[in-house]
């Protein structure tokens, strides 16, 4: 646990934890509002957004890609709403029709574009690249206090930390509104809370969290983190405050354990190659949810 850990593992673990928490926080409210699969839809439409941003700007720089992805998420949410209203189609099918179509368009655009010179492919989008985010300039724990070396931290860490902070701040600022409108929308409207705007804001926040996390850890982890930790937390308690705390704890432990198992697990089985950390983090969160389904104190449907 010395210099090597700081160089190779500290940053991926931190990025994993921050991504997981940024996704799990809005996930709590999405689950309670029965919109859990919005996260699934968002993580699929991020691909066309990023490809279009690349086509427009011609570079794989971060700002346009994040904007493109966030824009695609908003377009998807809008289209889903349009299909729901105009066609009288139930939300799940509308979502399924829109996000698969947008994903197909993204794959097609990607195939028709010459992206051989840049790192942009579907597999990277799915699996992320957590293991490569190393901090080679660091020499040990004391590097954390050295400003010159701190400046060489990977950009992904700075970005996801910023987004995580924004998500935490938004959750705290809008806590009362979110809580009231999630459990009783009619009462929220009677109090003058703009419930519809708040619902849209929640989806946008989720999209921003998804896009920032997606950049570092890929879209699988995003889907899993939106749903598994909050769902497991839901089975632990009947108080929203406790549920959110549990979900953060579950997200953190999934990220940490997942990264450790992915990096060191194969060694225990005598295999030299590491496995995908993002996939392992998603799997661990699923195992935690499975345990909560079996033993969570508030798991049963009727009290």
């Amino acid at each position: 646990m010395g210099a090597e850990f700081v160089q190779l593992s500290l940053i991926p673990v931190l990025i994993g934890i921050l991504s997981a928490v940024a996704c799990a926080l809005p996930g709590n409210f999405l689950i309670l509002r029965r919109q859990a699969l919005i996260g699934d839809a968002i993580s699929h439409v991020v691909l066309p957004g990023i490809v279009i941003a690349f086509l427009l700007t011609g570079v794989t720089s971060v700002a346009p890609m994040l904007l493109g992805a966030a824009g695609a998420a908003l377009v998807a949410v809008g289209l889903i709403e349009v299909v729901k209203r105009l066609g009288g189609i139930e939300p799940g099918a509308a979502m399924g029709a829109i996000f698969t179509t947008m994903f197909a368009a993204g794959v097609l655009l990607l195939d028709r574009t010459d992206t051989s010179t840049v790192h942009l492919d579907v597999e990277h989008a799915l699996m992320g690249n957590l293991e490569s985010l190393v901090w080679l300039q660091a020499e040990g724990w004391h590097s954390l206090l050295d400003l010159a070396i701190l400046a060489t931290l990977p950009d992904e860490l700075v970005r996801i930390a910023t987004v995580c902070a924004i998500v935490v701040a938004l959750t705290l600022v809008f806590w009362r509104w979110l809580k009231i409108s999630t459990f009783d929308e009619g009462f929220a409207q009677a109090l003058g809370i703009p419930a519809a705007g708040l619902g849209l804001g929640l989806v946008v926040t989720a999209a921003i969290a998804a896009v920032a996390a997606f950049d570092a850890v890929g879209s699988i982890i995003v889907i899993a983190m939106f749903i598994c930790p909050p769902a497991a937390a839901r089975l632990m308690t009947n108080r929203l405050e406790h549920q959110v705390a549990w979900s953060v704890a579950f997200a953190t432990s999934s990220a940490t354990l997942g990264y450790i198992f992915a990096g060191y697990g194969p060694l225990w089985f005598g295999s030299p190659a590491a496995v995908s950390a993002s996939g392992m983090i998603a799997s661990i969160s699923g195992i935690i949810l499975g345990l909560a389904c079996l033993y969570g104190p508030q798991r049963s449907r009727v009290k």
Partner: protein, 404 residues
């Protein structure tokens, strides 16, 4: 263009022909078996089922290589993917039945977890010496290049079976989809029928994996059913319409992708299906957006016309611009708002209709008759001539519109 025509008539080579036929049959099967999950409002379970096939593919490959096989045997991979997808399906059912989590949360959780596990297995395979050339990534987005005759045969046999079972079980599945409580009172085992519905989706998914990939097969299961819903209100017809939409998208998509370079088959198929969906959304009779728009405009015109004529009968001036335009166009009023003779006659008729309704609602307490009063329906549509004569008798002598 000539390439397109050649491909359309299956003259563009052996591989293109196989792919076009395979995609057409797969599309038909996917559309037909996607119908009932959509009607049951559980379309997105197919998303979870498709993603849950990935760990099965990885595990099957690892097992086959461990026991000295090639690892790429299609039947082995399909068996593995079906096994984990079925496990995922049972887990979704178990979570939403036994815990307080809603079904969508269960779907998302299984989808994310299984897909994550699948990615872990894929990276394990990449680390194996036999795994470098495995080409399992093709199962994510599909690949048509190496399609063999046996792949097409698998799709043809499996797809026909899925359509056949959907057709045979259409009655129980319709009842369960629309009213599961009623199905239970009829003695149907709702849980089993639900599992059968999703089992059909699963079988189409696993046979389509190699051709279009596990992410885009979801689109082929959902979009044709959604599009077909616009064209009919009968579930039996919907099976065939969804099947035809799916089959047409599969065939056309494969032909399009064969007729131009760098056109991946899976995405093109999905986009063709999406095009058919948008067409249905806009132009379908009865449920389409355009028809709904015209119907709304027609209703609006009827309301304005009737209210305008009632105002004429009561000698009120018409101030509403749209009403005035409507009545002028029919020659019932002059542009300055003064009624013409035809307008006075119409107004008197409408006013008489209104008075007859007033009397009718006092006499007949049966809401089955008078409940149809909505301010628009002529009384002749509801009551017989004899009854109206009786109403007129109650009303006293007819009053013509005053002329001054």
């Amino acid at each position: 263009m000539s390439l397109f025509v050649e491909a359309f008539f299956l003259q563009a080579g052996y591989n293109a022909t196989l792919v076009a036929i395979g995609a057409g049959v797969l599309g038909f099967a996917a559309g037909a078996s996607g119908t009932f999950p959509f009607l049951r409002k559980r379309a997105l379970i197919s998303d979870a089922v498709a993603h849950a096939t990935l760990p099965g593919i990885g595990l099957a490959f690892i097992l086959m290589v461990t026991f000295g096989g090639d690892g790429r045997s299609l039947l082995g991979l399909i068996a593995g993917s079906a096994l984990t997808a079925w496990t995922g399906l049972l887990l979704i059912e178990w979570i939403s039945r036994r815990t307080r989590l809603t079904e969508d949360a269960a779907i998302g959780a299984i989808l994310g977890t299984f897909f994550g596990a699948g990615i872990v297995f894929l990276t394990v395979i990449q680390g194996m010496s036999a795994g470098r050339q495995a080409g399992l990534e093709g199962f994510l987005l599909g690949s048509t290049a190496g399609m063999l005759f046996q792949d097409a045969l698998l799709i043809a046999v499996g797809g026909s079976l899925a359509v056949l079972v959907t057709w045979l079980m259409r009655r129980p599945m319709t009842i369960v989809a629309f009213d599961s409580d009623y199905a239970m009172t009829l003695g149907y085992d709702v849980r089993r029928i639900d599992l059968l519905m999703m089992g059909l989706v699963l079988s189409v998914t696993v046979i389509g994996l190699k051709l279009v990939g596990l992410i885009l097969i979801v689109a082929m299961l959902i979009i044709p059913a959604v599009a077909a819903r616009f064209w009919t209100d009968r579930s039996t017809k919907m099976i065939w319409i969804a099947g035809c939409i799916g089959g047409a998208s599969g065939y056309l998509g494969a032909v399009l992708s064969a007729s131009a370079p760098a056109m991946p088959t899976g995405p093109i198929i999905v986009l063709v299906a999406a095009g058919i969906f948008v067409f249905s959304l806009l132009f379908a009779p009865d449920r389409g957006v355009l028809v709904t728009l015209f119907r709304h405009r027609g209703f609006q015109a009827r309301v304005h016309r009737r209210q305008g004529l009632l105002a004429l009968a009561a000698h009120h001036p018409i101030r509403e611009a749209y009403t005035l335009r409507l009545l002028t166009r029919e020659g019932l009023v002059r542009p300055d708002g003064v009624p013409t003779d035809a307008g006075r006659a119409q107004a008197a008729k409408i006013a008489r209709d209104e008075r007859r309704w007033d009397v009718a609602r006092e006499i007949y307490q049966d809401t089955g008759l008078t409940g149809r009063y909505d301010g628009l329906t002529p009384i002749e549509d509801v009551f017989t001539a004899d009854e109206i004569a009786e109403l007129d008798h109650q009303l006293g002598p007819p009053v013509t519109a005053r002329t001054e």
